[in-house]
Amino acid sequence: MPWGPEDVERVARERIGTLAGLVARFAESARGTLVLNTLPLPRRFAAQLVDHRSRARLGAVWREANARLLRLAEEHERVVVLDLDPLVGEGVPVVEPRLSQYTRAHLSPALLAAYAREIGHLARHRAGQVKKALVLDLDGTLWGGILGEDGPDGIETGTDGTHRGGAHFAFQRVVGQLAAQGVLLAAVSKNDPEPVGEVLRGHPGMFLREGDFVRVVANWRPKHDNLAELAEALNLGVDSFVFVDDSPYECGLVRHELPGVSVVPVNGEPALHTEALLRDGWFDAPELTREDVTRVAQYRDELVRKDFLDSFDSLDEYLRQLRVEVHLVERRPDRGGPALPTDPAHQPVQPDDPAAGALRGACPPRRSGGACPRRPGRRPLRGQRHRGRGVHAPARRHRPHRQLPAQLPGVLPRHRADRALCRAATRPRTRRPGGAREPPGHTEEHQGQGLLPEERLRPGPGRAHDAHRHGSRLPAQRHDRDVRARPRGPARAARARVHFTEIPGDDGS
């Protein structure tokens, strides 16, 4: 029976409608993942229409049907539609005529194999075996040549140099594209670290820069050892790594020592690097989340934090490395001047505030300002404390009144500074006549000496437990007994604390 594009359009509409109904039924009643595929248009159908106008119409109708199929994945969360057109575009034959005719297998074995590969990666992802990090060799992989022998000026990369340099640059662009979607990048290379850093920071032909990597490991140790350490530092399993290297020796060694690592061998032809990397959908995911996009920054921050925590053996060393300095300045009420800090978010306790009034005592209110100007990678901290009637509680932006978390290493510097300022402002009468007494619960010097910082930060008896027992919803803090001794009600809201508000500026005096 002769047929035309309009017949194909009608049949396609009916079949896709039926399929959409089945998919909707699946989404309502079934669990698991439903995988569909688009239908490539074999030439043997299009060529049966002798006029180009009809062929074009057939192509449009066919692709509209495929587009409807693809949109089913947008409408239903657990439906995945694999597009076979990119596979066919790589030269995989759609049909093997003999198999199609004699065995009614209408898709060629090659296309089915490529299709199965895609489904395999989908199933791997569904099973939780997710690849998160792409670990790259440098010499011969990210750039051409050997950095140690050729020097930074002799390596091949960039768009205005050699053809091979352009191919390496193109490969870097593809890697950067993956990284922009949440794939963690790391480099593991047998090189000296200094020239590698020099190239990643300043080589004009590099697309990827040092900041694109969560970690660059350049040393002469076995790569499988470096990969294992990198996995530990990132708190990932090595089976979440994809490793790319141009050395068959290194690839074989990593395969042997770390079977969970997916190894992508590349060869001396950089134009094929991209094909090798993308041949398998190592980083395929059903959907990209916001967390995926920000994952790189999160892991990089975590690495920085871990590196810092690993860089000292004792609490004293840790505090020394923080390079925290606390400067106390006396603020006399008769001199006036703006209260510290000058942050617009600062909300001092007003004189007519009932909380302030309840705390107003015999001791004239005096303020001590504090500045903690030097913190690694952070802006200076400032705060102020009122002796005798509590503390100004500057509002933190996006973070309401928060006390000392006991087990968050990332916020430890601020709290140590808090404590230091509190101690300095309240302790020695010899240095500060008329100063407030040391809070009864102030036992900094006796707590956990000799313990590692993590151990020091764990809530322990007499800290978090006491605070919670007495109705506090706050994490562990040091002034538990002090809290118990304070009046309840409005006065409690203004109990003595030292808080800091981050503001840019000078010493705040």
């Binding site: 093997e96 003999r98 198999l99 004699y102 065995t103 297998a105 074995p109």
Partner: protein
């Protein structure tokens, strides 16, 4: 494909058949895992490898893998 060994590798790697040199001369009904679909796939592979057309009717006359190989390399 220059030798019967290359043909054997083709059978092993591309078709996934666990054949050895001893199976090449045996009847097709004694080749482990062999079925008629393999014949069609083998013809497609041989055509792609040699660049020559292999009629199905001629292949159906072959009684062993060795005879199919001879058909493929015949000038």
């Amino acid at each position: 494909m220059n030798s019967i060994d290359d043909f054997l590798i083709l059978l092993q790697d591309d078709l996934g058949l666990p054949v050895t040199g001893a199976d090449v001369g045996a009847g097709l009904d004694r080749v482990p895992g062999w079925d008629s679909v393999h014949l069609l796939s083998l013809l497609a592979l041989l055509e792609r490898t040699t660049g020559r057309a292999l009629p199905l009717a001629d292949a159906l006359e072959a009684g062993s893998l060795e005879e199919i190989y001879a058909l493929a390399v015949a000038s």
